[in-house]
């Protein structure tokens, strides 16, 4: 960890989310890293702050018909459709496999009713492994009819779901919010009141691509979710909005490809970050982000990555504008 030192002291990359310690603030995002089995050939998973697993539902889901992905300007659209092995295979095979790594595991859950969310969470809870740090609740998948977005765009249903899950676990409960709303602030407030430990944002942005040759949509579901560097400015703005709206720790996600991108999210107010799409072109991206962030913290001559969190110098800027 401590490759660098400041004034003789090591750079401290660890962060604490409520009661849970992460060796660094960099997670890999749900749906972009598999369950570790493939990616471990390309990077030393033990160097990651943690892994957020692909959204799991009660039953296995085969996912959407092809075409599922299309590249766009500095980004991509996907419509995977929450393809996943189902919670039984998840606890039977994936969690035990992931327990071999020295990093935190966060289980991401997607479902279509409060009951299903709760059933899945309880089943995982009953089969928890030693490095299961908690849950990320996906209420923001834009690509399936019942992918939780009906929760993610309703403050009331988000509150109801958060309360129902809060009472089912003492592990970390992280609500993953969508950017596809007029304002993310009411969701951040609600989730805080309802007892979540953190929010993560953003999930993908609704987008679409068309093949001018065939005049057909380039995704089988017509619209899909936009991710990658193209959305980083949107993600930073949402994190900033959420930061002002609530006191919960925030996990920033969207377009991070290097350590400086990660630093930007921390500066705006995120406590941790997730690396998603970047893993596809570079399965080593998560580690690269950790290492560059560590170099940045070192160069900034601060002892701990935590000092970056929320260090945005915004007052002078706004004052000059008379806002």
């Amino acid at each position: 960890m401590a490759e660098f030192s400041t004034n003789g002291k090591a750079v401290d990359m660890s962060v604490l989310l409520k009661h849970t310690m992460f060796k660094n603030p960099v997670l890999v995002a749900s749906g972009t890293f598999g369950y570790g089995a493939e990616a471990k050939n390309y990077c030393d998973i033990n160097k990651l702050g943690g892994i957020v697993t692909k959204s799991v539902s009660w039953k296995p889901r085969v996912g959407n018909y092809p075409h599922r992905i299309v590249e766009t300007a500095s980004g991509m659209l996907n419509s995977i459709g929450l393809a996943n092995v189902g919670v039984h295979v998840f606890v039977g095979e994936k969690l035990p496999y992931l327990a071999e790594f020295d990093t935190q595991i966060i289980a991401n859950i997607a479902a279509s009713s409060v009951e299903e969310y709760r059933d899945v969470l309880e089943h995982i809870e009953a089969n928890a492994t030693k490095n299961l740090a908690g849950y990320e609740i996906n209420i923001s998948c834009p690509n399936v009819k019942d992918g939780g977005l009906s929760f993610g765009t309703s403050v009331e249903r988000t509150a109801e779901l958060t309360r129902a899950l809060r009472s089912a676990t003492d592990r970390l409960l992280i609500m993953k919010l969508t950017p596809n709303v007029t304002s993310v602030a009411p969701f951040a407030e609600t989730v805080e009141e309802a007892g979540a430990d953190a929010i993560s944002l953003i999930n993908t942005v609704v987008g679409m691509a068309v093949d001018h040759k065939t005049r057909m949509p380039r995704l089988s579901t017509v619209t899909g979710g936009l991710s990658g560097p193209a959305i980083k400015p949107i993600a930073l703005a949402k994190v900033y909005e959420a930061r002002k709206a609530c006191g919960l720790p925030i996990i920033g996600i969207g377009g991070i490809v290097n350590g400086l991108d990660a630093a930007e999210f921390l500066i705006v107010g995120a406590t941790m970050v997730q690396v998603g799409t970047a893993n596809f072109a570079n399965p080593h991206a998560g580690i690269d982000v950790v290492e560059e962030l560590e170099r940045y913290v070192h160069a900034e001559k601060i002892g701990s990555v935590r000092e970056l969190v929320g260090s945005l110098k915004v007052d002078a800027t706004l004052r000059a504008q008379g806002w």
Binding site: G31, G34, E38, A39, A73, M76, I80, G228, F280
Partner: protein, 266 residues
């Protein structure tokens, strides 16, 4: 397979660039790791521009040739990614990950191998030819192309050509030609190895059903990762597989790129 030491150094220097014809280029780069491990039918995943975020994703290419520490791909320019890769000059770098996917199942028992090639589908065929030859199979290659100058004969055996414009060989599709030869009973125990455009693959699949012969198809689907972590590259599994396993889809990048024609829908 443990990539951890080598796959972290995907930067490969281009050592040669040969234009076969306008928009069809063989690019050779130095990558000892891939050169050593790649097997016929596997592919590499190339980032169009080193270090760039646009284009964002890698492009998959079959391993076309290798010799010593050098690996070649044959690139047909179809969009901005292939245009950039095809324009890479000797001395410049490419960011290459591989070898990826499963090899051709060339160790099956049939004594004859019919290679059915459409256009740039030729890419995996020289290595396949090598393997088949070394295990003593009789090889017949049916190579369909729009016109003669698009044909890359290197590393192939017993080539019958079919061109759309009649500029060489049979005037028509290669599948029609094979159909004719199969009906003339020129083969006794053949297996089909097929790579080309979807239309040709469908015709080959139908041919295999008609004559009841095994047929392996090498598929192309859009890929975000090429290593099984995005779920972006599925092909539809046939009904029997679905009924048996509950798997509606199979991943072209890790389970393929080649599949037996009766295991998938096209």
């Amino acid at each position: 397979m443990d990539y951890s030491s080598l796959a972290q150094k995907p930067l490969s220097e281009v050592t040669e660039r040969t234009e076969i014809t306008d928009g069809l280029v063989v690019v050779t780069f130095r990558n000892p790791y891939i050169a050593r491990l790649a097997r016929a039918g596997q592919f590499v995943n190339i980032l169009p521009r080193v270090g760039a975020i646009d284009p964002l994703l890698r492009r998959p290419f079959s391993v076309y040739q290798r010799s010593g520490e050098a690996v070649s791909v044959i690139v047909q320019v179809t969009g901005r990614g292939t245009a950039l890769i095809a324009a890479t000059m000797p001395g410049e770098m490419l960011d290459v990950l591989g070898p990826l996917g499963q090899p051709w199942k060339a160790d099956s028992t049939e004594r004859e191998a019919i290679l059915i090639i459409g256009g740039v589908g030729v890419a995996s065929m020289p290595l396949l030819t090598e393997v088949l030859k070394s295990s003593g199979k009789r090889i017949a290659t049916y190579y369909g192309a729009r016109s003669e100058k698009l044909i890359a004969r290197h590393g192939l055996e017993a080539i019958e050509v079919a061109t759309d414009d009649g500029s060489a060989g049979f005037h028509g599709t290669n599948v029609a030609l094979i159909d004719q030869h199969l009906s003339e009973k020129r083969f006794s125990n053949p297996k089909l190895y097929v790579c080309g455009p979807t239309g040709m693959m469908r015709a080959a699949k139908a041919l295999a059903e008609k004559y009841d012969i095994p047929c392996e198809l090498s598929l192309e689907t859009e890929m975000a990762c090429g290593i099984g972590i995005c779920q972006g590259c599925p092909v539809v599994a046939d009904e029997a597989t679905f009924a048996k396993t509950g798997k509606r889809f199979r991943l072209v990048c890790t389970e393929g790129p080649s599949f037996m024609s009766n295991a998938i829908e096209l």
